[in-house]
Every structure is written in C-alpha cells, then in structure tokens.
Symmetry: C2
Subunit: 146 residues, 2 copies
DNA sequence: AGTCCAAGTTGTACTATACAACTAGAAACC
DNA sequence: GGTTTCTAGTTGTATAGTACAACTTGGACT
C-alpha cells in the first residue's frame, strides 16, 4: 500500500473513532445541551434567527425532528418564535437572552476542553491541523460521514 | 487572538461539524450496519475475538448497551459467542464468516468514500493530516469529544 | 374558486443509550 | 469449606433522537 493509501486508511479510522467518541460523550459533557441543540443554537446565533425548515435542510434532519427540538428549546426558554408578518406559516426562531448565555457557557467549556487537549501542540501544527480539517469538511457533500 | 488560539477555535468547530454530520448520516450510509456495530465488528476482527466487557470499556459504553448490541449481531449471525472454558461467566465473541464479509464490504465502501473525498490531496498532506488525527485521538481521555 | 405547494405539528415506531436490579459464576478470606 | 465480595452478563425501564406518514394551515398561481 502506498503512503497515500495508508494515510487515507488512517484518516478514515481516526475520524471514525472521533465521531464515535463524540457521539458517546456529547450527552455526558453538557447535560443541559445536547450536541444537536448546541449546533442548532449556534446556527441561530450565527444567522441571527432563521426558520425551522432552514435548520432541517442545513443539518439534513427531518422537519418533524427539528419541530420537536425547537419545541424543547422553546420550553427551556432558550429560543423564541416570532411569526413572520409576511407569511403566517413561518416562524422565525431567535435566541433568547438565556439561550445566548447557555450557548456561550457551553462554548467556553468545549473550548477549554479542546484547548487542554491541544495544549502541548506547537502553533505551527495547530494551524496546519485546523486547515486540514476545514479543507476536509469543505469537501463535496454526500461523501462518507456526511 | 493569537494564531494558536484561532487554530484551536477552528479545530473545535470543524471537529464538531464532522461529529454532527457523522451522527446524522451514520444510519443512512450503511443501513445494514450501524456505526456502532461497525466499530464493534472491527474491534473483534482486529483483536481476533474479545469479551463484551472489553468492548464496553474500550468504547465507554454501558455493559447493557453492549449486551444488546451483541445480541443483535448474534441474531444477524455476524458474530458468535463461545463460552470460555476457563471461566464460565465469560463469552468470547468471534466474527462469523458472514460477519467478516459484511465488515469487509462496509469497510470497502467507507474507504471508497473517504478516498474520493481525499482524491485531490497531495500525498504529503494526507500523511500529515493522518498523523495529526492520530495524535489528537491518542490524547488524554476525558477531554472534549471523548 | 380551486388546485397545488410549503411550513410546521402530531402520531407512531425504532434505535441507541443509561441506570438499576438481578443471576450466575469465580475468587478471597478467615 | 462456607461466606462474603467481586465480575460478566442479562433484563426491566426510561429517555433522547430520529424518520416517515398523515394531517393542518396558509400562500401562490392559474
């Protein structure tokens, strides 16, 4: 096997390990906010509000799934729905102040964990690793792990 | 923010994106073998058989979860249990021929997807990316995404 | 008006998971 | 050698996340 092929094998294996671990631990780390809820809140913050359908499309989730997630987040008072005056079918979702705070807090704690894990890495390696990951994720949709 | 800090941010964000996508797609890609089942079978192949408790410890799963996964894999005739003659509490799990085949098939298809995604990468980058991922995953347990 | 489409909700089912209570067998201890 | 303690695994129960299908409501387009 060429060096490139064996590197692809390793990348596959290590990405799989990462995904499995992330999945297994997501709920344990932040009981107050699942990985899915976290990414949904993050999306809302980034976009400054969006529709449930946009979330479903972006994360390849069924609209019923998003509907229930949104309902849970609203019950927890982390988001609020505002009826679109242009189209009464549409609910524009916005973070509440509490949602913004929880999101910031979870982001801080995740960031701290990553930072600790990467504490020993030289800056040069961090920058290159980050670039590789971005490049990998920016790749065509539909491939493995997509 | 220093280059190192911003690289850590990027790594966190991209790893999260990857984990979310992997989770969302795991079931769709290989309906015949979930991500968990796949990794369990892979472990069995690599170790040439092991105990349910070893799987639970290695993957940070509850023993009841492993017990049910193992039961499902046995029902599907992908693995078999052999009583340890030394210790009658222990069941040593082994891949069956069918299990070996399914595993090989899913591995091929996952490998093809990764290869396609990485097709444009120069060998040098593949090797470095693989090394970074290994280093990241080899890091101390208990950190984020663990 | 009537048809079709789009956004969201609800009913139902399934999978993965954890925790707790249990059984069966092994080991340790005195 | 019997009692206690530990280990491997199963089963009961509960929860989260997910999909699919059926439905409701509101717009859009003839």
């Amino acid at each position: 096997m060429s060096a490139a092929e064996s590197a692809v094998e390793t990348i596959q294996r290590e990405m799989t390990i990462f995904a499995r671990r992330a999945r297994a631990s997501a709920g344990r780390m932040h009981p107050e906010l699942s990985l899915v809820s976290y990414t949904l809140l993050g999306h809302l913050e980034e976009r400054d509000g969006c529709r449930a359908t946009d979330l479903a499309a972006h994360y390849a989730l069924d609209k019923s799934t998003v509907s229930r997630q949104v309902a849970a987040l609203e019950r927890a008072a982390l988001i609020e729905r505002r009826l679109d005056p242009e189209d009464h079918r549409v609910q524009v979702l916005h973070l509440t102040e509490a949602g913004r705070e929880i999101l910031a807090q979870v982001t801080r704690s995740r960031r701290a964990a990553f930072r600790e894990r990467l504490a020993e890495w030289p800056e040069e390696d961090l920058v290159r690793f980050a670039a590789y990951l971005e490049r990998y994720n920016a790749g065509p949709a539909g491939a493995d792990a997509e």
